[in-house]
Structures are given as C-alpha cells and as structure tokens.
Amino acid sequence: MDFEFTEEELAFREEVENFARSEMPREIEEKAYLWPGGYGTLPIFEKEFEEFCRNFFLKLGKKGWLSLGWPEKYGGVNSIVKQAIVDDVLSYHRAPCAHAATSIVAPTLMRFGSDEMNNIWMPGIINGTTSFWLGYSEPDVGSDLGSVKTTAVKDGSEYVVNGQKIWSSGAHVTDYCWLLAKTDDSSKHKGMSLFIVDNNTPGVTIKPITNIAGIDSFNEVFFDDVRVPEKNLVGEKNNGFYYVMSALEHERIVIGFGTFRRILDELTQYVKEKKKAVGNTREYEEARNIIALMAIEVEVLKSFFWRTVWMMDNGHKANIEASALKLFCSELGVSLSNSAVDILGLYGQIDKGTKWTQFGGRAGIGYLDSISGPIGAGASEIQRVLIATRGLGLPRG
C-alpha cells in the first residue's frame, strides 16, 4: 500500500497550483463564502462572482481539465486521480472546478448516449461552454425519485413536456436542463426517460428561490407544453431512472476536498492569531482541542476520498464507498461549522464585509449553509440505508 502521489501526479498538482495562483483573483478567493459540503454557497451563485466563474470554466476547458477522467476520444487522459487533483487544488482556492455537466451529464452520455448525440453535446462540455442543471426533484418528489410526475408525451418528432421541477440548483445561471420525466404511466421506475432541454425553449419558466444563506442558488422551474426534439432523448426511452442512478457514483466523488482543508487551515490560523493577541487563555486550550478533533476527521475524509478515486480509476465498483464519501463529507461540513461557531463565539454571528468580520464571516454562513449537505443529492438517511442494505447485505425494511 502507498498513500503518496506519484512523481507525475505531484508535478501535475504543482501545475494546477500555479494555475490557481495566477488565475484565481485573491479578492474572490477571500470573499467567496464556499462552505465545505454545502450546496448553496458555490461562487457561481454569488451574483458578483457569476461572470468570473463562467469565464473560469472556459479556461479550464482550454486546459483540458474538465475532462481528465475521460477517454482520449472525449478530451481526457483516463485519469480520475488527475480529475480529483484538480478538484482538490482548485477548491482549496475556492475556484469553480466542476458542475453538473462534468460530474453527471458527460459520464452518462459517454456510457449511454448515441454517437450522434455525443458528437453534439460533448465538445461543449469539454471546452466549458455548455452548462447544465439537474431536473430531478419536484414538489412531491424528493427522496423517492421514482415517483416523478412531470410528463413527456410523444407528438410526431417531438416530446411535449408538462410539469414542475424544484430545487433546481443553478437553473438560472446555466443553459440546459438534464430532465427526468415520465414517459410511460404503466410502470414506475421503468417509465422514466432523460432529456436535454434548452432553457430558452418556449414554455420553460425559471424562478429563483432564495436559500437560507440569502443567496439565489436554486429555482422552481415550470414546463408548459415545452416541445423537445426527439433527438434530445438520452439513450433509450424509459431507461432514465437507471441512467440517473448509475451516474451517482460520479457525482459523489466531486466533493471539493480542498474546501475542507482550507477551512481547517483558516480556523487554525485564526486561533494562532488569537493566541498572539490574547495569550494562552483557557479558550485557546479549548480551541486547540476542537481543531485537533477536526483535523482527525479531515484526515479520515482524505483517505476516503483518495481511496474511492483510486478504486474508480482501477475499475473497482465504488458504489458504497461513494455513498459513504458523500455521507461523511456532508456531515463533516456540519461539524466544521459547529467547530467554527464554537471557536468564534460572539464573532460567529457576524457576516462578511464588516470591520468586525473574523474568519471571513464564514462561521455563521457555514452554520446555515452546511445543513444542505446532508439533505441534497440523496439525504443522509438514504445513504445510510444504502450502505446497510447494498453494502452490508442487510434485508430491506
């Protein structure tokens, strides 16, 4: 066993690090909230950073860094480790590095899409010009994704879509919907299909929803007689639910591992400075212990993360590991915010951008945002059931 990166991987880390230093403005790095494990404080959702993020994706596309884990034919080098290095290093700098197009849409298209479809969609994803949002959840459809009610009915060479999606992260800042809709009423899971829908199609209405942190990160999206060309059907009709499930593994390794390291480093730095200013107080002793405990958890996450990445790179099934990774990292996001609030005390409530702000104003926002981690992309309760049933073979309740 060897926990170290190879020479080549180390050199690549260095390259990504240099890129981040030159391309990521310090001001944005310092101002962006980006709490680890949360879904609502990504830089692209903060209005002032939206345009920067779009351009940054183009730069990543140019570098070929959005597609590293994919086969050569799709602009990649078949290295999920390299993909993960980009995620780790860039997210440490609070730079955008992945989105639904790269973590879900592309892996699904490469596996199940026709060549014709991939020729249309993959180039834009690879070069960072095409972005997607995920149209899965509905007002009555959360954990039970099998009960989608939005319908797509065939009419000539088109499908006509009617229904409503909700919690659609980034629908207001992306171009296309990755839509899960009902195409056959006679069967539950087997009656759903995946479609690509242009946000600008007549009948699509996108309404932003303000999240707990005060940021418009997700949306309600209404579909009224939206006409989608048949060629935008992904893979085979009525197979959509299985495509969605098989892409989860890819989604779950995009955890922004660097954001965890960053918060641990900054919290440590905060306590060091506090000690310089106030001396060796009882609070300092307690803060040290809190940080030491968090450092253990971040180290655990590190192993979970790289082990899962390694498994996927080497052709091992990592379903359970990916579930565990998602579960662990989102709950660690909550613990880290608790630690930050405990250490900052009264300062924990102060937002960014004031003269009293400490720790970048992230403690309070992190405390609010972090609760999204254990809910989004498959709630903790569901992940635990998956680990216990699929992973450990316990009977289903």
Binding site: G142, T210, I212, D342, G348, G364, I371
Partner: protein, 377 residues
C-alpha cells in the same frame, strides 16, 4: 417534591403562547428581523398593557409581581413562538439589575417607565475580547467633579440602537484583581459622545457597536456602589444565561413541533416520512435532548427564585441547552429536507435563534470551567 406548575403559571404560559402566535406570526418575525429597528412599537405598547414589561416588578413600580421562576417560564414561551425585539435586553439585562441593585430614587424613576413600555434599555458588557470576564473590561470611567467621563468601545450590545438607556460596564480603578475596579453606569443613550452602529449579522438579534467618547455621566447614575459593579454584572449575566436557556428550550420545542407536524404530512414512498424509523429516531433524540435540558433549567430557576446560589446549575443548563438547541435545529432541518433550507420557510428562524442563544452569555465551552470548579477541580 412537586413537578407541577401552578394554575397561574399555566395561564401565563397559555396567554403568552396565544398572544404571540396571533400577533407575531412568522411573516412578521421575518419582517422585523430584516428591518433596522428590529421590533414593533405597537406590540411593545400592547405587551406593556398586558403587564409583561414589569412582569417581575412589585406593585409600587406598576409591575405585575410575578416571580423570577415565572420570568423563566415567560421567556420559554417567547422562544416557542419567536417575537424579535428588545424585550430580553430591557427586562432581563436591565430591569433585573436596576430592581435588585439600584437606589430607590433611580428605581422609582426608571422601573415604572419600563412597566408602561415607555423606555427601552440594554446592558453593554462585552468588548473586543467578546467574553464575560472582568479583565476584558477596558472601557474607562474617570471622575471629574460630580460626573464620570466614559471612554471605550463596547461590542455585541444587543438593541443599543433603539435603547433610551445603556447600562455601561466600565473600569473605574486599576486593581490587582480586575473585578475590584468595575462600576455599572446608567447612560442616557442620547448623551453626546455615544455613537451606535449595527453589526451586520446572520441571526435575528440586533448586536451593536457602542462607542463612548468623553461621555459625561452624573455620579448618581451609578447602579450599586463604586467599584462594586462586577458582582452585579456577574449576577445579571448568570440570570441572563438561565433565562436565555429557557428561551432556547422554547425554541427547541417550537422546532420539534414544527417538524412533527410536517413529518405526519409529507409523503415519500407512499408513506408519511414520520413512519420511517430513521426519522422516528431523530424525533426521539430531539425529545430526549429537550426534556433533559428543560429540567436543568427549571432546577436552576427554582433555586435562583428562592435566592439560593445556583452557579453550577445555571452553567449546566446553559452549556447543555445551547448545544441541544443547535442539534435540534440540525435534525429539524434534516426532516424538512430542501424546503427548510429556503428563506421563505420558518425553520431557519429557529436555526438562527439557536446560534445567537448559544453564543450569548457564554457558550458550552465557556460554561464547562465553572462546572469543573464547582466540582472541586
């Protein structure tokens, strides 16, 4: 032994619950929290008419004569249905020390005005270090004739921006033992040299920075005795920690009830989510957490109401309740799923209350030392 509340106490609880539910729905809570003032002057007047402002004052100050234990029950219900405003600052942080330590002249001048809802007060303790220890009090008050001149900066002073008076904790002497040189002054907030600004934050509270620049205060505005103020401050902060714990329990109960109702209604996989064992475990944990804290709070309150020393019990109540309220809101959010993560929903109001409640008057970690000391460690 008797674990029951009296009939009067139950009535008090019920009337508060009904009033706040009717007059301060969560839509108003959000509006008030987003407004600069942070409270509703109309509700303030009405609550005074109901006798709540002078809840624990005797008749002679137009009070309602309730006990300290009743005050604890009162704030527990105020936490259940949230009602933002300077009530805590006025009644607990200012009303109590004036009632217990001010001279008669000051009491008969100020307390009736509190009872009738004419004035708002707050206490300014914390400074840059953001803690409640006497060595952190750097704001100075220097005698000049019949007056004291105050200089310094206070931080995290809730509601100062709407207060008529600020009880300022200032250093009047440099002594080997830092608590021996602290005095409590009642400062008219309109005095020249007082400068107040709101500190932008993420809770429903309105913390302020209060700068004192050569602020003149008459010597007769000292509450208690010169250089004897820390005892008063400490007593007030302890009581405040206890009342805040009660308010947090109310909030935790409010969170659980909100989530309970939802868990019965929300259907996934053709069943109410409350029928899933994973969800049921969350509720059992909430119940245990809340009810364990509730008795810690009542124990500390009943000791305090009898005039007994309850430093350890209060520290235990505050240490555990702050942590549990935060945990209960984490679980509450978990049960609501995505909808609870929106600004439009009510769940985040409790989440924010749990943050401000926990970090004010000493969080879990800063209470632990008191408990260890009381155990002889």
């Amino acid at each position: 032994m008797n674990f029951a509340l009296t009939k009067e106490q139950k009535m008090l609880q019920k009337s508060i619950r009904q009033y706040i539910k009717k007059k301060c729905p969560n839509s108003l809570v959000k509006e008030l929290a987003a407004s600069e003032k942070g409270y509703s002057p109309e509700l303030w007047k009405e609550m005074a008419e109901l006798g709540w402002m002078g809840l624990v004052f005797p008749d002679e100050y137009e009070g309602s004569n309730f006990s300290f234990f009743d005050l604890v029950l009162f704030f527990e219900e105020m936490g259940y249905n949230i009602c933002p405003g300077p009530l805590f600052s006025t009644l607990v942080l200012s009303g109590l020390p004036i009632l217990n330590y001010a001279d008669n002249k000051l009491k008969s001048e100020i307390l009736p005005q509190i009872s009738t809802g004419e004035i708002i007060l707050t206490m300014a303790v914390t400074e840059e270090n953001a803690d409640y220890i006497p060595s952190s009090i750097k704001t100075s008050a220097i005698k000049e004739g019949d007056e004291y001149i105050i200089n310094g900066t206070k931080l995290f002073v809730n509601d100062a921006h709407v207060s008529d008076y600020i009880l300022c904790v200032a250093r009047t002497d440099e002594t080997p033992n830092p608590e021996d040189g602290v005095t409590l002054f009642m400062v008219n907030a309109k005095t020249p040299g007082v400068e107040i600004s709101l500190m932008k934050n993420v809770t429903l509270e309105k913390p302020c920075e209060v700068k004192f620049e050569n602020v003149k205060v008459p010597a007769k505005n000292i509450i208690g005795k010169l250089n004897n103020g820390w005892m008063i401050v400490n007593d007030t902060i302890e009581k405040a920690a206890l009342v805040k714990s009660a308010e947090m329990i109310g909030g935790a109960r409010g969170t659980m009830d909100l989530a309970l109702q939802y868990a019965k209604e929300r259907v996934q996989f053709q069943r109410p989510i409350g029928s899933f064992q994973a969800v049921q475990q969350h509720f059992a944990n909430m119940w245990l957490g809340i009810n364990g804290c509730r008795d810690l709070v009542y124990l500390a309150a009943s000791k305090t109401a009898k005039g007994e020393h309850a430093e350890k019990e209060i520290a235990m109540a505050k240490a555990r309740t702050g942590k549990i309220f935060r945990e209960v809101t984490t679980l509450g959010h978990q049960i609501f799923g995505a909808i609870g993560y929106t600004m439009e929903h009510d769940m985040h109001l409790y989440r924010r209350q749990a943050l401000s409640g926990d970090i004010t008057f000493g969080n879990t970690y800063s209470q632990l030392d008191k408990i260890a000391v009381s155990l002889g460690l």
